[in-house]
């Protein structure tokens, strides 16, 4: 696999029961880039995102066909531990979902569970909060409940929590849709910063957000990958008419 490619999908199909949600998807995600997945509701973009760290395993009666290579290994191979995959490929959800614990323990919880080496925890908590640009706001509140933070702070805490597991990839499922414009701007700024060290794949309904923060954009429609190109190209002169109709609001 090309060293710039971190995930490679080949002929991936995904089924909820008998219903096919993704059709023959082949695409590569590039390392240290932000890739946006866009498309109307029900197009399969969130399904695809959840496939990448085996979150769909948790849903009954689902089936994956094809191959998803990460570090040259099919993440759906029988000898692959999904928990290990989720450690390397972290996820941030639409609604901030901190644990009802202290700020410190929100970050330390995952590393405590997966590592026996606990004496670096303080440093890891500080480093993760700094990476999520939250440290200055919460450094004196580490023993307070995370539930007292604002929505935007909670979302950055969730990002810090994901970073504490030292992942290679961060999956984000509409991470700012529940946030106000200032918090959204902070998360977007953070994403720009994080891509130096991480690969980010983000699902968003906000076209301008996709245009602002992503390097590459993939447009999905009814389970098909319609167009995948550099973001600048998609938003100025897309190759496919269907993409143009969608991003210019001519759909439906």
């Amino acid at each position: 696999m090309d060293s710039n490619i971190i995930i490679k999908l080949s002929n991936v199909n995904f089924y909820y029961g008998q219903s096919r949600a993704l059709t023959d998807i082949s695409m590569n995600f590039r390392k240290n880039k932000v890739t946006a997945l866009i498309g109307p509701s029900g197009c399969g973009k969130s399904t695809l995102l959840r496939l990448l760290n085996r979150m769909n395993d948790l849903i009954d009666d689902t089936r994956v066909e094809g191959e998803i290579l990460f570090e040259d290994k099919n993440i759906y191979a029988s000898d692959v531990d999904p928990v290990e995959i989720r450690r390397k490929i972290g996820m941030v959800f639409q609604k901030p979902n901190p644990f009802p614990k202290t700020i410190y323990n929100n970050i330390a919880y995952g590393p405590k569970l997966t590592s026996t080496n606990h004496h670096d925890l303080d440093a890891l908590v500080e480093q993760s909060l700094k990476q999520a640009v939250l440290w200055d706001e919460v450094k004196d509140l580490l023993s307070k409940s995370a539930m007292n933070l604002s929505g935007g702070q909670q979302q950055r805490l969730c990002i810090a929590r994901a970073l504490a597991m030292k992942p290679d990839i961060l999956l984000m499922d509409e991470p700012t849709s529940a946030l106000d414009p200032i918090s959204t701007a902070k998360i977007e700024e953070l994403i720009e910063e994080l891509k130096k060290n991480y690969t980010i794949i983000i699902v968003t309904h906000n076209m301008q957000q996709a245009a602002r923060i992503s390097d590459e954009t993939a447009f999905f429609y009814i389970g098909n990958l319609v167009e995948y190109n550099k973001t600048e190209k998609i938003f100025t002169k897309p190759d496919v008419k269907q993409t143009e109709d969608y991003i210019t609001g001519r759909f439906g």
């Binding site: 076209m207 301008q208 245009a211 002169k237 143009e244 109709d245 210019t248 001519r250 759909f251």
Partner: protein, 232 residues
């Protein structure tokens, strides 16, 4: 291919109004050029005064159109074809406004020339004005219809106006060499010709933007097919 309508009918209407505004502004500038030339060829300065008086209306329309475009950029954040349409519209309105100013320049020269005995019957100038008016019309038609071949036709016609301008210049040079009393009038006619030639440049500018709007490719600084075939 018929363009699908936007889900938002208000947005659709805003874009259509910009398009209509440009057609209207284009028609007014075309009329201004033809009237300015009529004033010259029929030696009727009243017509020229009307052209000069109508320029405020053109300027007002230009400002209004630009404001509409900026409003769409700010409020709708257009992308892809809509983005290319709006940026093209902003450029076109600027070109048309400048064309209007040049029609005024021609009208001003017509008033001065009409006050003196006619140097010679005007032959090439009205021909050039017809070509230029046609170029404006075609460039706007290509914009409305997304018609690349018509835009190319405009780009090619610009070379013809360059040649005509040069021919007029050479002819007037002979007049000036033969009779020093003709210098002042010759220089004014040269300026009329130069203004027509610059109007053709603006029409080509519009055609270039149409090509960008349709293809996403910037051709502003490329030579057109005709120029490539016939090196100077």
């Amino acid at each position: 291919m018929e363009e699908k309508r936007h889900t938002s009918s208000h947005y659709e209407k805003e874009l259509q109004e910009i398009k209509n505004g440009l057609i209207f502004l284009g028609a007014l500038t075309e009329k201004a050029i033809l009237l300015a030339m009529k004033s010259l060829s029929e030696r009727d300065s009243d017509i020229a005064h009307k052209v000069i008086g109508a320029d405020d209306e053109l300027d007002k329309l230009d400002t209004e159109l630009e404001e509409r475009c900026i409003k769409v950029l700010a409020l709708r954040q257009p992308t892809a074809i809509d983005l290319r349409f709006i940026t093209t519209a902003i450029k076109i309105t600027g070109h048309l406004e400048r064309i209007g100013d040049m029609a005024v320049n021609i009208a001003e020269k017509a008033i001065q020339l009409n006050a003196e005995p006619q140097l010679k019957p005007y032959m090439d100038l009205p021909r050039m004005a017809d070509i230029v008016a046609e170029m404006i019309k075609n460039s706007l038609d290509s914009f409305i219809r997304n018609d690349l071949s018509m835009a190319e036709k405009v780009r090619q016609a610009e070379q013809v106006t360059d040649d005509l301008n040069e021919q007029i210049f050479r002819e007037l040079l002979t007049f000036m060499m033969e009779d020093s009393h003709s210098i002042h009038r010759s220089l004014m006619i040269m300026q009329v010709s130069k203004n027509l030639e610059r109007i053709a440049d603006h029409a080509k500018g519009i055609a270039d933007m149409v090509t960008y709007m349709v293809t996403g490719e910037c051709v502003r600084h490329q030579t057109c097919e005709l120029e490539e075939k016939e090196p100077a």
